[in-house]
Symmetry: C2
């Protein structure tokens, strides 16, 4: 039971700013700036990843050779035993991602990329529906741009990947592999925005990726969609920031079956360049919080820094009001860690690259033709109905091996067809989310309309069931607290603590230092009634949610 | 009539390897290696672009301010007067792209990006239909990888963008911003491919982009789709390479209305790592050739260099057979330069982000409501029918200005609706490809089924008409030659020369030196009959096409 493949890059995607900012957090510190867009942070002590090349071909070779002789689930560490090892085993065995040759980078393999494509497809439609256009910004920016930003936020530059040699020559001005887009966005906005008639200017890009550099030792690259908008008024920008977090909420609930809690970040956790940061927070299987998407109201902070002006209706020059918002491939990790179990991945049907796998079963050669014919026609029926279906007709593996393999890959439904099923014109259908015999139903008719309706109903049922299960898990692990003592108990039990909060930034940092938990958000949904701050005993307007996080 | 915005980056996308390799071409020279995938080359002397930042905000500001007071077409240099200036004016005025802050890079603006998205959508479907999966490879590779490749091809490294500083520290090993993917692809293939059962391994990615570095002075970045496959046999790889060039041919004819000539590259023009390079060659409006897409049969050259092995059915270890193929954003430039005219852009309906623009016309306020109501309902009808339609209801501009603007943007059809049209329940429809009154039809009924059918027919007609026109232009500019003298005359007249060819590489290079023309391809479609080499008088098996190229 060896978890032989370790993917530091993916794990890093789930570290939080907290670790790096245990002490001395100030609103304008570079650490907080790094949080811009989505608060992707990486825990330095987890792995010694860095800007260096690594060779692991032979290790991977061993892994694969071992894998060939095993039932796939054998190589997955039980989730309850070691959550992190389980997570990395799932990624390796389900072939979601692999190491890149540069330590800290990852190759996203077809199965993982297909999940990302499902996310893109949904969001791309939503972004366009809400008036955003896609465009492309180049990824090299002049070093002077960062210095401009650094005049606001000291110490940003130590994090960057710098191109110093181009065309065989030392460059006169170093280039930066753009870590975030504010500088170039504002550079272009100053040229494109002239009058209020040019506003709002809204763009998004669901197909681009970013190089994200990490302080000190590490670079990490991931894919994301990133949106930037400019508006004539604060109110419009605020509405935009809220609209986009709403889209993320709907995406999380409806597509990913992840019952995120949405809210506003505390002042300490808000990006220094933003007036407000909205977030969706998800509870992973180990009950740690994952910040799964953010939307920022940037106010005029960037437009003042870069001189992004427009002429209003009265002929006055004004700074534009901006927003930005992003979801990245870390969301794929969130799906794994929300729904997965000891068997492996469990995918919500609406995001699954394969929704139904058909496993034909035969012993004798004379059975094979009839079984495969029936299996193919079942496949055709489902495909025509718009269901993503795969027929695993290889004769390299036993049906039992295939059952395990596709369960490990998280395919929501399995259809089994054997000689007796062919005779009776029916199939056996098993649900991934209900293990063993309980999830298995015999004698479903192959008649197209019956089968199609049955499969669609089951997929809907699984989608709802995953959400309900995650919701129940989440709610049973959130404790209402009214004192710091109660908060400490809840956090020490690995739970989320929800309680009224109106204390100082210093108190917030003290909680982090003493418990490891941070304010994940002030949730939009607030309980009724009088609230007394759990820390100070003063009146409070809102409850906050505290939790340890990735 | 000042073409005030110049986009070196886009123009560079249309330079050819020829310029850099006028003398001393050897099959294994680094210059030819750079041709790998798609032969994107950049003419150094065109612009003094380099790895440096530039500031042009004020220039652009002037341009925009000037633009506001003009009819859009006024700022476009006539195509016949200066093709290059015309091209750059169209890109600037149709808002397809803009300068990036680093010289030689470009921002692809929403209108240009939407065309690229249409290309992606089509190809993504075709790639998946033919069994390819998308995946993502990280863009930093260790410098040692390039050295490995450089052992085959000297001098590759002078072209690269090198990251030498990461996280504020000098890196132990420099990282390369990956210019092509062969090294990392083979690095991963050696880990993923074990037996013949793992083959074919086929991936494509229509959503990624690449940094392409240019020798000496320049970096250029563009978006592309890139495919890589590995196979068990040469025959399979050859079929794959041909299948993919076939997809590119169909794409060019059916979507882009560009009548490319497809064929095989000469030995001199074939990428040194490839056994065969297939290409599609398009004739631009100035009659220069544009290499618009390539597909390579790589044989075992890369698998031998990287040790990419598999175990065949007999238990023998064998090197895999590989292909690669790509189309990039240069194709967008090809569309502009094939169909555009003095008015500006002209887009084939199947790729146009906006297929129909509706311009409402009113003078008095009491007319406005009725006209806009009718225009909105026409828009709804067409949108429901799946047509990409835009209603330009702004009251900032006159209808005449809008006519010019949308013609300049290349929208295939314009619908005009005025008060009298509202009364008569009809609209006026103008074709972009037939200027003036000739292209204008009055009294088309607003009745949904009539209007929808009429618009769809016209769009189909325009699509065919653009292809026919380009085909006629192409064919009237290809001259059959039977001697070198005839070839020289044809080339000096700016035409393409087609003639039998079985001469040496040295002769081919001599033609290039003396005429500036290269062999674009040995076309798949060959004339019947006996062929005598135009250069040597010896028997020839094929005709070749010679032309000057971008």
């Amino acid at each position: 039971m060896v978890a032989s493949l370790r993917l530091p890059s993916v794990a890093h995607l789930f570290s939080s700013p907290s670790t790096a900012t245990i002490t001395g957090v100030s609103r304008r510190s570079p650490t907080i700036l790094r949080c811009f867009h989505h608060g992707l942070f990486f825990r330095p002590q987890l792995f010694a990843a860095g800007f260096s090349a690594q060779s692991m071909a032979s290790e991977t070779q061993d892994r694969v050779d071992n894998l060939k002789n095993r039932v796939p689930t054998e190589v997955i560490t039980p989730r309850s035993q070691d959550f992190n090892a389980w997570y990395l085993d799932v990624i390796a065995n389900a072939e979601l991602a692999d190491y890149g040759p540069v330590r800290g980078t990852m190759v996203i393999r077809p199965y993982g990329y297909a999940i990302w494509e499902s996310i893109q497809e949904y969001l791309n439609v939503k972004f366009k529906e809400t008036g955003h256009s896609n465009m492309y910004f180049p990824q090299f920016i002049p070093y002077s741009f960062i210095e401009k930003e650094a005049s606001h936020v000291e110490g940003f530059s130590p994090e960057l990947a710098l191109v110093t040699i181009g065309g065989g020559k030392e460059l006169e001005e170093k280039l930066v592999v753009r870590p975030t887009s504010e500088t170039i966005v504002n550079h272009m906005f100053t040229q494109w925005i002239h009058s209020y008639r040019d506003l709002p200017l809204m763009w998004a890009n669901v197909t681009r990726w970013e190089m994200r550099t990490k302080p000190f030792v590490r670079t990490l690259e991931f894919l994301w969609q990133e949106g930037h908008t400019a508006h004539a008024t604060l109110e419009e920008a605020e509405n935009e920031a809220r609209q986009m977090i709403d889209i993320y909420i709907r995406f999380a609930y409806e597509l990913a079956a992840i019952p995120v809690i949405a809210g506003r970040k505390s002042k300490v956790e808000t990006f220094a360049g933003a007036c407000k940061t909205y977030t969706i927070e998800a509870m992973m299987g180990d009950r740690k919080a994952l910040q799964a998407g953010t939307s920022h109201n940037l106010g005029q902070n960037f437009s003042r820094a870069f001189g992004t002006l427009f002429t209003d209706e009265n002929g006055q020059r004004q700074h534009v009001w901006q927003t930005s918002w992003a979801i990245s491939t870390r969301f794929v990790g969130g799906i794994i860690m929300t729904h997965g179990d000891d068997i492996g991945l469990m995918l919500p049907p609406k995001l699954a690259p394969t929704q139904v796998v058909i496993v034909p079963i035969w012993k004798k050669d004379d059975e094979k033709v009839a079984v495969l014919t029936a299996a193919s026609s079942v496949k055709a029926v489902l495909q025509t109905a718009g269901i993503k279906v795969k027929l695993d007709d290889s004769d390299q593996r036993t049906p039992g091996w295939k059952f395990n393999f596709w369960e490990m890959k998280g395919v929501p439904l399995r259809i089994e067809i054997g000689p007796r099923d062919v005779s009776s014109g029916s199939v056996v259908i098993s649900r991934r989310d209900v293990p063993g015999k309980q999830g298995k139903v015999f004698g479903i008719s192959m008649e197209p309309s019956v089968l199609e309706a049955y499969v669609k109903d089951r997929l809907d049922e699984i989608q709802s069931s995953l959400l309900e299960r995650a919701l129940a898990f989440r709610d049973s692990n959130i404790v209402d607290v009214s004192s710091y003592e109660e908060l400490k108990v809840a956090i020490s039990e690995g739970k989320w603590a929800r309680g009224p909060w109106s204390a100082s930034d210093e108190d917030e940092i003290k909680v982090k230092e003493e418990t490891g938990a941070t304010i994940r958000c002030f949730p939009f949904e607030q309980p009724e009634g009088v609230k007394i701050c759990l820390m100070t005993g003063n009146p409070a307007e809102e409850v906050a949610i505290f939790a340890k996080s990735y």
